[in-house]
Symmetry: C2
Subunit: 352 residues, 2 copies
DNA sequence: GCCCAAAATGACAACGCTATCATAAGCGTG
DNA sequence: CACGCTTATGATAGCGTTGTCATTTTGGGC
């Protein structure tokens, strides 16, 4: 008698946790019927189902999802690795992933790599063992070992962020280059000709690199000076943004507009202007990137490029769910685009 | 022969995923020895270990943590439910939890309840089935069903946030009441006598309620008017903060200082002052709450109360880890305190 | 009343790993 | 060289669930 102990006690109280067997015993059916009643109730007679439901309530039974995952080899977990969690950039994306997953009863397991590709690899190594059914990554740069691991795992992968380049599997995002270039073009239409670029740190940061590339391409096409670039040594923040902006002005005092690779940096720049008593946009124009809520509220509000962070997360999750539901495994890139948000931190465009 | 199929193929290639058995076969040992080599290498002879390591590398074996969790009934997962993930308030706390857990090879499973206690209950219902080894909650208000579930699960629980009241199990945080009261007292020392309070939304939001309580207690003790309160209808944001601040001024135009229940609200208030051309702190004093980085960078920087969000997360995780390591299960509250950060958005204190 | 399909339920085994206990091998000691 | 003692390895079984297939029951249609 495998279940002697449990059968003898005849109750769920053996260790405080009821099993299928306990519920089945109480309802007078077999464990498999209880399992069915919970997962596919339409296959169980109404009367039986009612008895089972009572028994579940009486025992306080909670299905053991670890056992279920094990047996069915479906963990019901999606793993995500993001550079940081306390930056609204990624937090909003995660929120999108989370919301979409929740609607399909999947859980989200989150890892934070602090923009380090090596750390990303480590996190994935830990995650893969938990047999996630899909993976969401940030960016399209990964170590060879990461790529190998993911290929071997044979699960769908969505990269979020820049849409450029060949996806590992699937990809959702927008073109960083095009977005920055479009913003530069807009600033040019506003009459700015000496546009500086305040760039976030470049190490292991593909996004920053692509934004820089987009800036360079655009100013060159427009025949503007292409060397007005300062790069943040520290992670992008309001303070480091202000400092980098100050450095830009020191180096090129005649700069008429500063394009910042993140709204946070632009906010720092704006505060620096306020400290100096420089009117914006009369003394200098300021533009940000991302379209954070904060950028709409500053005085003056910041011109920026809005990217659909939340939707990127939703779409990433939706792509994974599609695969899990049987969609064919073909490479895909989804471009969610961007929107220029003209505001008062730059002069109005000419002839518009 | 249970393993006939696998033994005959003699390789890991049966479905792309190697098992302990495959590695053992290749290394010429039994599966249990491989298991030991991975978990307690010191119990395996060096030569054997070397062969096993080679076999692991050759097969690309990744331990199945689902199976491990199942068999050992140790999931290696901690569940956390927070009101939101894209508010640095909670994101930083989560980061603290995550960092501490990672050092001990535990994973973090995150749920977002949007300040709804009912949603918290739903999330926990989904989580408990995954047999987390511990739970981190936000706040100390929970539905009866939530309390019952947690009690039944028999796992350690840490509540983060306000330190007041009896913990469900363990608790880490600070006293919202005392922190706000201390800030009011500080503003009083600065000479402010008509201090208004801009309060975040109160629904299901224990923190906001406690901050309000702290404000009320303090102004009453100081003999100040205690009715200058406006409450945000919408979630706390820069815009809603600005609007609520405007409402405060409309209702009580002689207000000489606005205490905001969050730095974000205070930033909104500051921007509103900038729009009106009101000098801060000369026309009106502004104070925030939380001690966000942003508050230090505005012009002028905001007086606020710093609370150790990241450390609260770390400590919460540490408390759980302690329990898992065998610490006695007794109720505990850890008070991490707070720090008043006097800045230029308020007048300097008198006689100091 | 009989037959056959559909509906409802059950028996059995196995997922990959590790807890437990047992066995084998090494090794200094009297 | 038998003894105990440590070190190294293995055999067995089972964690709680569900996939697969088998069996029983139900319910018309003739």
């Amino acid at each position: 008698m495998l279940r002697a102990k449990r059968t003898i006690t005849g109750s769920a109280a053996h260790d405080g946790r009821a099993t299928l067997h306990d519920v089945a015993h109480l309802a007078g059916v077999s464990p498999i019927t209880v399992s069915r009643a919970l997962r596919t109730p339409e296959l169980v007679a109404a009367a039986t189902r009612a008895r089972i439901e009572t028994a579940v309530a009486d025992t306080g039974y909670v299905p053991d999802l670890v056992a279920r995952s094990f047996r069915s080899s479906r963990s019901g977990v999606i793993a995500a690795v993001v550079p940081s969690i306390d930056t609204s950039q990624y937090a909003e994306m995660l929120q999108g992933v989370s919301d979409e997953l929740r609607r399909h009863h999947l859980e989200l397991m989150v890892g934070v790599n602090g923009l380090s590709l090596v750390q990303e690899e480590k996190l994935l190594r830990a995650f893969i063992g938990r047999r996630p059914e899909g993976v969401v990554l940030s960016g399209t740069e990964h170590t060879p070992a990461t790529r190998a691991m993911l290929a071997r795992a044979g699960i769908p992968v969505v990269e979020t962020g820049s849409i450029s380049g060949r996806p590992l599997d699937m990809k959702v995002g927008y073109s960083e280059e095009k977005a920055v270039a479009a913003l530069v073009a807009y600033l040019h239409r506003c009459g700015y000709r000496r546009i500086g670029f305040v760039c976030g740190p470049l190490d292991d940061n593909e996004r920053a690199k692509r934004r820089r590339k987009g800036y360079l391409g655009a100013v060159q096409r427009l025949g503007l000076a292409a060397d007005r670039i300062v790069t943040l040594p520290a992670p992008a923040g309001v303070r480091s943004g202000a400092e980098a902006f100050a450095a830009l002005l020191e180096r090129w005092p005649d700069t008429d507009c500063a394009l910042c690779s993140s709204d946070i940096i632009a906010v720092g720049a704006l505060f620096e202007c306020q400290r100096r008593g420089w009117p914006v946009p009369d003394r200098i124009g300021l533009a940000g990137f991302l379209g954070l809520d904060l950028a709409a509220e500053t005085v003056p509000p910041l011109t920026t490029v809005k990217v659909a962070r939340y939707d990127i997360g939703r779409e990433a999750a939706a792509l994974l769910l599609g695969r899990l539901a049987g969609a064919p495994a073909r490479r895909r890139s989804v471009d969610l685009g961007f929107t220029i948000l003209p505001r008062q931190s730059t002069r109005p465009p000419r002839g518009g």
